[in-house]
């Protein structure tokens, strides 16, 4: 009977096989763990919720001490943010993230094929090399890039960022796609070869459909990292090509410390990543564990 209640609150697979007497976790413990999980989840979520709550307040209500949970709604923060001209940087961020992500997938997918399905010699070394470039801190190469861009008039040009973001995310994408491609059954490819399919056809029509979830999760992660990037964008852009994170930092310093505005701006800039991440949670999990460990 007590196991019945446990099952509804959802303790492990206790009742399976009629072994209920064997390991009856007291239901209280299950309830406790559930409550604990909720508390921890709420704790981690609260700063985000607070950001949203404060963003919808008048400045005078936002800076209240002690805090008020329910204050009248005001769009003041958002109005200030959108009056400050955030559209060009938001659009720049969108362009840089989407185009670089597309480029990464376009280049990383064939490379992953060469590293997993019909592996080149020493494919682990190559993969090792790709990953090792991630160990080069971006900051260690930024000065020559800056000087080069200055000499070739590429400073403040969104294409420079696109190219850099592409190289920044390539290793991770190759790594992820390699592990996803390793799951494609060899027989499928042999069949395609017997039929005389070219490499491009094989990739497009045989491999890609099978690993679509892998491609999607790699793309999602590349998008997030590009959208979030600050250092390169800050050093290499100024007015025309500046991205949303750069705009965010400048917005705060030039507007003074006004809480509702800061929260509204932070929320709007985070929104694309939050939306994409929430929508594709499973892909995110799959991608982050990279199928690397099976």
């Amino acid at each position: 009977m007590s196991t019945q209640t446990t099952a509804t609150t959802g303790t492990t697979t206790t009742t399976v096989g009629g072994r209920t007497y064997r390991q009856p976790k007291p239901p209280r413990r299950g309830v406790f763990l559930t409550v604990l999980a909720w508390v921890v989840g709420l704790l981690f979520f609260f700063p985000v919720l607070w950001m949203v709550l404060v963003s919808f307040r008048a400045e005078t209500d936002a800076a209240s001490n002690p805090p008020e949970l329910f204050a009248p709604i005001s769009l003041e923060g958002y109005r200030t943010f959108f009056e400050a001209g955030p559209w060009p940087p938001l659009l720049n961020s969108m362009t840089a993230s989407l185009v670089s992500t597309a480029l990464v997938i376009l280049l990383a997918f064939p490379a992953a094929y060469a590293l997993s399905i019909r592996p080149v010699k020493k494919w682990t070394d190559v993969l090792f090399f790709f990953l090792s470039t991630k160990m080069l801190p971006i900051v260690a190469g930024i000065l020559p890039i800056y000087l080069f861009a200055q000499a070739t008039n590429l400073l403040d040009n969104i294409w420079l960022l696109i190219i850099l973001y592409t190289s920044m995310n390539m290793p991770i994408a190759v790594w992820m796609l390699q592990s996803f491609l390793a799951e494609v059954p060899v027989e499928m490819l042999e069949a395609a070869q017997v039929d005389g399919a070219s490499l491009l056809t094989t990739l497009r029509q045989v491999v890609a459909p099978v690993v679509m979830p892998g491609i999607a999760s790699a793309a999602l992660i590349c998008f997030i990292f590009s959208w979030n990037e600050l250092l390169l964008a800050r050093v290499l852009t100024s007015t025309v090509a500046s991205t949303a994170p750069v705009f965010l930092t400048s917005f705060v310093t030039s507007q003074g410390l006004f809480l509702a505005k800061v929260c509204a701006a932070s929320f709007v800039v985070s929104l694309p990543v939050l939306a994409a991440g929430f929508a594709a949670q499973d892909k995110l999990v799959q991608g982050l564990s990279m199928g690397a460990v099976k």
Partner: protein, 321 residues
């Protein structure tokens, strides 16, 4: 000419000979075959080599130069003097220490928290999906935005949430600490831990969910305690996932710029190496010294990476086909 030796070595490689062809024909075939194998790889490989190795080569060259943009006439060869300055500079040495401190503290704390929370979420309970979604949120906030949120909405001594809560609980005379001012490093680490714990949790949760449950069930029926199951079944199974999340976490936290730049702006001994280099190059315009610091950063990172990559390498070996 090296191609002929190359061909034979390719031909003798057992891995290559998937199709059973007779030796004479095979030599020709494997050669074109090995190129066919390489071609899809080359665009990505060449692109990455050009985009990562060339700039670093540039950094190495500049690190041996006397080059300050404010004194363009004094540009020239400097030998090791930039490196000497980096190693004797108090700020540079502090940056190294701060980088290590921030990285180790952030990765360790997020890892332990992430593991605990992953275990908590790996059970079926009401609202499991909602709790997971809430947990993921910090990872999905743009880092600069997260840093701004912590600095202004949470840490601010006058109207931040933390001191507001203190007032709410303890009344008018509650202490109102200046969080960032009085403990800049812990303040930075706390904000970073908040952002990175969900990342660790996600990877570890994926690991937990790939655990073969029937074996655990069998152990449980045999009367193994939960603690025993955790230490001798769950943890060994999670090892690779723990290593993977540590590796990835380290790569990203070592490079952290956004939080240091936003929350403390490197003040009161919180400048890490990326911020120190940014300042030396961007504000002080001392290209030579910034590059030397960059080279030192890479060497330091590579030493750590050697250990970390060996771990990652073990993962590939085990799943390699």
């Amino acid at each position: 000419m090296s191609s002929s030796t190359d061909t034979t070595s390719v031909g003798t490689n057992p891995e290559e000979g998937r199709s059973g062809v007779t030796p004479p024909a095979r030599r020709v075939r494997t050669r074109s075959d090995s190129w066919q194998r390489r071609i899809p790889l080359l665009p990505a490989l060449i692109f990455v080599i050009v985009m990562t190795q060339l700039p670093f080569l540039g950094t190495i060259i500049i690190s041996f130069m006397n080059w300050n943009a404010y004194y363009p006439d004094e540009r020239g060869f400097a030998g090791f003097s930039n490196f000497a300055r980096v190693f004797t500079d108090v700020n540079a040495r502090s940056a190294v220490l701060v980088t290590i401190l921030i990285t180790v503290a952030t990765v360790l704390i997020s890892l332990v928290l992430g593991l605990a929370i992953a275990l908590l979420l790996d059970r079926k309970f009401r609202g499991q999906g909602i709790v997971r979604t809430m947990m993921i949120a910090p990872f999905l906030v743009v880092p600069v935005a997260a840093a701004l949120l912590w600095k202004h909405a949470l840490y601010n001594p006058e109207y931040g949430l933390f001191n507001g809560l203190l007032t709410l609980v303890l009344g008018e005379n509650a202490p109102q600490p200046d969080w960032v001012g009085s403990m800049p490093l812990p303040a930075l680490v706390a904000a970073l831990v908040w952002q990175w714990t969900p990342f660790m949790m996600l990877i570890l949760l994926a690991g937990l969910q790939s655990r073969p449950l029937d074996v655990v069930e069998a152990a449980r029926i045999d009367g193994a305690s939960e603690f025993r199951i955790f230490t001798s079944m769950t943890l060994p199974h999670l090892r690779q996932y723990i290593e993977l999340s540590t590796l990835l976490g380290t790569i990203y936290v070592v490079q952290n710029f956004d939080h240091v730049f936003t929350i403390t702006a490197g003040a009161t001994g919180t400048a890490n190496l990326p911020y120190f280099i940014y300042q030396t190059f961007y504000t002080a315009q001392d290209y030579g010294r910034a590059s030397a610091a960059g080279v030192v950063t890479v060497l330091g990172t590579l030493i750590v990476a050697m250990f970390a990559l060996r771990t990652a390498f073990a993962i590939f070996k085990e799943e390699g086909r």
